[in-house]
């Protein structure tokens, strides 16, 4: 009974974790050596490390996306911002002799400006988030291409190389960066009242305004934060291939990021967000991608497999499934007693 209670209380947390473990185990059973981790040249090496390594850009973007989604918004422009900040990084490295920290600062700055732009459109001009950010999504790649003049600008910089592919204490540096960013964000959101305000604004703007929360400013900051995170991810992605690919960097990454946030249990209609679970969501998606790549499946099957597994994960995670299953099992034991989790049927305006 006690154990059941624990499960019940933490079902929201357990579902994504369980899905992740399941996917890793299934992949491991198909791909031998998937779980093995060796030490090569003083750092860890293996498919699991690859997943962490590859997941960092998405994780950063998803972090910003989670905050934006918390305010009942969405940011489609992150892919374009990644392209822009990558382009800035590359062009400044190649064409100027700015020190690396300045280059990075400039790139992050462009991200902030992009976020500010989105934020202003959404919170000052009241344009619906999806359209407001769609504008930068379309135009942003144009800006990035303008900066790189349509070519892939390759650059060389030891510091950036290290950011892209270096190791520190046996782990990739970029994973450390992501961890730092995640810890920082979680602290700020949970140890100050910011998280509460964001969730309140997302769930009910009118009520939040009336208690004196400055909703406009808050929403604006959410987009700025998302822009900042995307820029960070853009720098890492450019450093990764030592070049800025204005056309393809971060392409469709926004969808993965949103998917991760939602897998974590957040609603696109605003309200509660779950930062750490969002990272689990990112890991689910990246594990899936890596698993498909290592499995030797023909390329044209990628999408069908990905879609099927995502659907399966969603169905497993759905509280409804659990309810039906437990209803089914308990029916045999004591008929008529309805199952737990009932309250969710009455979720206020549970918009799809």
């Amino acid at each position: 009974m006690k154990k059941n209670n624990f499960l019940h209380k933490h079902q929201k947390t357990l579902a994504p974790l369980l899905s992740l473990v399941l996917i890793i185990l299934v992949t491991a059973s198909i791909t031998p050596g998937f779980l093995s981790i060796k030490i090569v040249d003083g750092h860890l090496f293996g498919s699991l490390l690859d997943i962490l390594h590859r997941a960092t850009p998405t994780a950063l973007v998803a972090l910003g996306m989670a905050v934006v989604i918390g305010t009942r918004g969405i940011d489609l422009s992150v892919g374009a911002v990644i392209a822009i900040s990558g382009a800035v990084t590359a062009v400044l490295t190649v064409n100027t002799d700015f020190p690396v920290w300045l280059v990075v600062l400039c790139a992050l700055g462009t991200g902030v400006v992009c976020g500010l732009w989105n934020g202003i459109l959404v919170s000052v001009f009241n344009i619906q988030p999806i359209v407001a950010t769609l504008i930068l999504m379309v135009a942003g790649r144009g800006i990035a291409q303008m900066i790189t003049e349509g070519q892939i600008v390759t650059f060389h910089s030891d510091v950036l190389d290290a950011i892209g592919n270096g190791y520190f204490l046996a782990f990739p540096i970029r994973v450390w960066i992501a961890i730092g960013m995640i810890v920082l964000t979680v602290l700020v959101m949970r140890k100050t009242a910011l998280g509460l305000f964001i969730e309140a604004v997302g769930a009910n703007v009118r009520a939040s305004r009336l208690v004196g929360i400055e909703a406009r400013l808050l929403v604006l900051s959410a987009y700025v934060f998302s822009g900042f995170c995307a820029a960070m991810s853009g720098i890492i992605l450019a450093a990764d291939i030592r070049g800025a690919d204005a056309n393809n960097a971060g392409l469709w990454l926004e969808l993965d990021a949103i998917l991760a946030v939602v897998l974590a249990g957040a609603s696109l209609a605003g309200g509660r967000i779950y930062l750490l679970l969002t990272i689990v969501g990112v890991l689910i998606i990246q594990t899936l991608t890596t698993a498909i790549l290592t499995s030797g499946l023909p390329a044209q099957y990628n999408l069908v497999v990905k879609a099927t597994i995502i659907l399966a994960v969603l169905l497993i995670q759905s509280p409804k499934t659990r309810q039906w299953l437990s209803g089914f099992f308990s029916k045999n034991k004591n008929a008529g007693k309805s199952s737990a989790g009932e309250a969710s049927t009455d979720k206020r305006s549970a918009k799809p």
Partner: protein, 322 residues
Amino acid sequence: MINERNLPILATLLVFIMLYGFGMYQYQGFRDTLVFSNLLTDNAFLIITAIGMTFVILSGGIDLSVGSMIAFIGVLMAYLISNTGMHPLFAIGIALVVGVAFGAAMGVIIAFFEIQAFIVTLAGMFLFRGLAYLINLDAVPIDHPFIAGLYDIYVPLPGRGGLTFIAMAMLVLLALGILIARRTRFGMSVYALGGDSHSAALLGVPVKKTIIKIYALSGFYSAMSGVIFAIYTGSAYPLAAVGVELDAIAAVVIGGTLLTGGVGYVFGTFLGGMIQGIIQTLITFDGSLNSWWTKLAVGGLLLFFILLQKGIVVWVKKRSAS
């Protein structure tokens, strides 16, 4: 006084007219009816998709699978016609049934498992594209006199323009959409769901049934769009219509529908689609922009029209207030 609920759509209409006027003023070739009939024909599949999307968005949901559905339906049709020798009419029938079924299936998952539409349809987007690859990786022509015959149906207009079969089909589907939205109980249920789904349930709206129907309807419209696209190009291509879902969403929203649901009109979506088309036409007529300036211009014009539309709404409200 103008009813405030119609204001956004009137603003959109005004923006469209201003834009068209600008084109006529600026470019000689723009004054021909051909440009208008091209707009109808070229944007037909987008508008058809967007009509289905309007219902989804009105209900407070979203459907990301429409672009992939277009490609999948096209490939399926081509397969049926060329590999089984089926008459195109049957193939179209089967394709539409499949589209509706897939849409309804997503609706079932959304309604009964209470999973958010965004990710269910995102999975649908991957799935349909993937299925298209599995049927046929390559682009294939659909060689059938019937399909070509459909394309050639044509009602000439004064000038060089004329209504193609595709344009007429779009207009019929538009009229159908308007009727469904405003004159059926299902349509009103859609609005109710988007306005407040909790209250809608208490008012006796059959929520689950309506959700399933909405996604089935969206499936129907995107499948229809797939058929139109196949007629339009006379071929099928698994990579067709990538990103159309975003264009369709943009068309719906530019047309004055709120993404939070409950407010908007199908006819606005038509205008939204036409505005997107006209932006492209203007850029092509100009012809001096390079690739990145094209992107900037598309984004910039989009922003300009949205702000203009907002401005008009605010201005009229202020005027009628004083």
